[in-house]
């Protein structure tokens, strides 16, 4: 046990900091730190900067373009980037479909898709959930009927994050409606430009367009775009879900938010006219969430260390998901509470970069209430916290 960085780890941290200083533009940094809307170009620009440095896929094996870092290096990297205000890379290509293609894809799929995921040429989105299948993912209804070398896909996916920008979607589809629900599913890679695909926005409770419905109306997909075997897609789906939870603790961002919360509480007034951070009740709330975050950070490192030994993500990831999401929610709630009556105005336009119209309340105020509302999703998506508890109950406690 040693909680101190080695000299090599400190040197690596300096290298990461130097990279971020050089490559992260102040404009983009301020957007992220200020809670403004990010454009497609913002995400892609930063992805390409990481790609040029060879750092865009720390989770990949070196032979495909990964970094070969230790768990501690990955921790340092994620923390530094989050702290500096770098946008997160999107998981759909790098951390969801890519591991599936590496493990189960054909040589042609690997050769075609992996470099394009790495370079950022392809923007991926996820076609898992359907309106009728939330936690019960395997009950999905989207059908793919085989006609020669082609699947004809019909159905609807939902909660497709940033699907409005996507070039490709990976989909779970039902190829055998007769079989038990887990046994008739296949895993398809679908070009979003294929005729018959319609993307419709879902407006979230904060008024933002972040997720979509994706409709498939007789969409033709080459059989070559199926990953692995027909009707074995559920195996690949579970493999993917195991990988999806890596990093889901969102510790880097939470640490940045904690810092931001303290800054806000230092600027906001208390009822007695002093600083809010000096109000004992508010200070205690901040202290409590800071302590929980300290614990989660160590837990995360412990889990990663254990995974390095056992070589596979285990059910402990559910612990990280549960506590990580709760901490994000608490931090966003405290930032909102710090605003007092300034939390009330709904200033949608003020989230656009470059907005210079009238503002109610402080300049850091506009995103905060919506952010609290938005963060309610974190205990729902990626397997709701109730589902995560079922997993722990079964896999760790043995019920």
């Amino acid at each position: 046990m040693d909680f101190n960085f080695t000299p090599e780890e400190l040197a690596f941290r300096d290298e990461v900091r130097a990279f971020v200083d050089a490559e992260l533009s102040p404009g983009l940094r301020d957007k992220v730190l200020g809670g403004k809307r990010l454009s497609k170009d913002d995400f892609i620009g930063w992805h390409k900067a990481l790609y040029r440095k060879g750092w865009v896929a720390p989770n990949w094996p070196v032979e495909y373009g990964g970094t070969g870092w230790t768990a501690v290096q990955r921790h340092i990297f994620e923390e530094e980037l989050a702290d500096a205000g770098a946008p997160a890379t999107l998981p759909f290509g790098l951390r969801m479909v890519a591991p599936v293609i590496m493990a189960f894809g054909s040589p042609a799929q690997k050769e075609y898709f992996l470099p394009r995921i790495l370079s950022g040429e392809h923007w991926w989105c996820q076609g898992y959930s359907e309106p009728g299948s939330g936690s019960d993912l395997a009950s999905l209804k989207t059908r793919a009927e085989r006609q020669g070398d082609t699947y004809i896909v019909n159905g609807q996916k939902t909660w497709t994050t940033l699907g409005q920008h996507a070039d490709w979607i990976f989909c779970l589809v039902r190829t055998n409606p007769e079989a038990r629900k887990q046994e008739g599913i296949s895993f398809l890679l679908i070009d979003m430009k294929t005729p018959g695909i319609t993307v419709r926005p879902i407006i979230m409770l904060d008024g933002e367009h972040e997720v979509n419905e994706v409709w498939f109306d007789n969409v033709e997909v080459p059989v070559d775009n199926r990953v692995g075997e027909e009707n074995k897609g559920w195996t690949y789906a579970k493999f993917l879900l195991g990988h999806e939870r890596t990093g889901i603790a969102e510790i880097g961002r939470s640490k940045r938010w904690l810092k931001q919360l303290k800054q806000i509480a230092t600027q906001q007034p208390a009822s007695d006219g002093g600083k809010l951070i000096d109000d004992l009740r508010f200070r205690d709330r901040v202290a409590q969430v800071e302590i929980e975050l300290m614990a989660l950070e160590v837990t995360n490192l412990r889990v990663i260390a254990a995974e390095m030994e056992h070589k596979a993500p285990g059910p402990e990831a559910s612990l990280l998901k549960i506590r990580g999401s709760e901490i994000q929610q608490t931090l966003s709630e405290l930032m909102m509470l710090a605003l007092g009556h300034d939390a009330l105005p709904f200033q949608h336009a003020a989230l656009d970069p470059g907005y210079d119209g009238p503002l109610a309340g402080p300049d850091y105020g506009p995103p905060l209430t919506g952010q609290y509302f938005n963060m309610r999703k974190t205990t729902i998506y990626g397997g709701s916290n109730e589902i995560q508890k079922n997993i722990i109950s079964k896999m760790i406690l043995g019920f």
Binding site: S135, F373, R376
Partner: protein
């Protein structure tokens, strides 16, 4: 002691509920929120005709002379339907202040017009860079001839952009934070020097930032005693908090009903998700919170006409408990709805947002816990 509503009260509540159920459904509300004005004069007029605006106003001035429990019944009904019209701003705060402290002339001029739905009022209290203490008033009113000149900024004034008249708390004496020196004035919304920046609020209502730049009012604009308005402000804010508590009780009742229905109909793994015990117990916890909140709303309403210390103690206690309940019920309703709960499409997220704002208006949990704790009777 008596813990039942009268037959008249029940009938009144039922008629209000019936009207709102039929005429003010979720899609209607969505249309109102999306309109340029952000509220509906037609529905306001209907509420007037149902007697909802007049119910607790004095009989001498167009009201029905009801008590705090009548207001509570109205607010609970408005909460069930998530009505966005300016009831708290106009009736509870605006008319409440006039009825409590206004001159006969002010009462005659304003109360019947409020009762009839013709006048909208707003209460301009909070200021930029201030939190919840009612004494943190920097806006100044200086004697100017036989009238007053008011200068300062007010923020998050509920329905401040749609009101016809603004009741403004300003300092005629003393420094910020002084309990003495606060006075109230009624100002025409179109007075020269008064500019308003209106905006939608997070919960689908309206508010405004107001800038008073040497706004001139006559001597008859003063409400209540010069320098001595803090008790009036306190009582008005207490009444607003009781109204918010009652509204939250209505919000929660509707939200729990909708959530339980959802749990009974939404199927996963081949069964209604309401068959999972962990979710059932969560729903039970929501029910427990809501029942305790209802009790506190009743208690606070009962104490609204009690002595100052007893009143403030009960109101702060109610605001603490109702806010904690509102937070739990709102968050869990969203959670139990899953993905659909975080979209704009269903009522659930709208209830959640309104409940959230209720917990932050006129003092949050910490503020009221401090206020209550300061009066911890041994």
């Amino acid at each position: 002691m008596d813990f039942n509503f009268t037959e008249e009260q029940r009938q009144f509540r039922d008629s209000l509920d019936r009207y709102l159920r039929e005429a003010y459904d979720f899609d209607t509300r969505r249309g109102i929120i999306g309109s340029a004005e952000g509220w509906s004069r037609a529905h306001w007029q209907q509420l007037a005709e149902l007697g909802a605006l007049a119910i607790a106003l004095p009989e001498d001035h167009g009201g029905f002379g009801g008590n705090a429990f009548d207001t509570l019944l109205v607010m609970e009904a408005l909460g069930r339907a998530m009505v966005v019209e300016p009831y708290i701003a106009t009736v509870v705060l605006g008319a409440g202040v006039i009825a409590d402290a206004g001159s006969d002339a002010q009462k005659a001029a304003l109360l019947p017009a409020v009762a009839g739905g013709e006048q909208l009022l707003a209460f301009a209290l909070g200021e930029p860079r201030r939190r919840y203490a009612l004494t943190q008033i920097a806006t100044r009113a200086r004697q100017d001839g036989d009238g007053w000149s008011i200068s300062g900024r007010k923020t998050a004034v509920l329905h401040g952009d749609v009101a016809d008249r603004i009741i403004v708390a300003a300092r005629t004496d003393g420094e910020i934070d002084s309990a003495q020196g606060i006075s109230l004035f009624v100002v025409d919304a179109d007075a020269s020097g008064l500019s308003r920046h209106g905006y939608p609020t997070q919960d689908g209502q309206r508010a405004a930032d107001l800038h008073f730049d040497k706004v001139r009012v006559g001597a008859d604009a003063l409400i209540g005693p010069q320098h001595g308005a803090l008790p009036i402000v306190e009582k008005a804010v207490d009444a607003a908090n009781v109204a918010l508590c009652a509204e939250a009780v209505g919000n929660m009742a509707a939200l729990i009903e909708q959530t339980v229905n959802y749990l009974k109909t939404r199927k996963q793994f081949g069964v209604p998700i309401g068959s999972f015990q962990a979710l059932q117990h969560r729903a039970v916890d929501m029910y427990l919170h809501a029942e305790q909140a209802r009790s506190m709303a009743y208690l606070a309403a009962a104490k609204l006409e009690a002595g100052v210390a007893e009143r403030r103690r009960a109101v702060s206690a109610a605001k603490v408990l109702v806010s904690q309940s509102a937070r739990f019920v709102g968050q869990q309703a969203v959670q139990l709805h899953g993905g659909i709960g975080v979209t704009d499409e269903l009522a659930v997220s709208h209830y959640f947002k309104r409940l959230t704002m209720i917990t932050m208006l006129f003092g949050d949990v910490d503020h009221h816990l401090a206020q209550f704790g300061g009066q911890l009777a041994a």
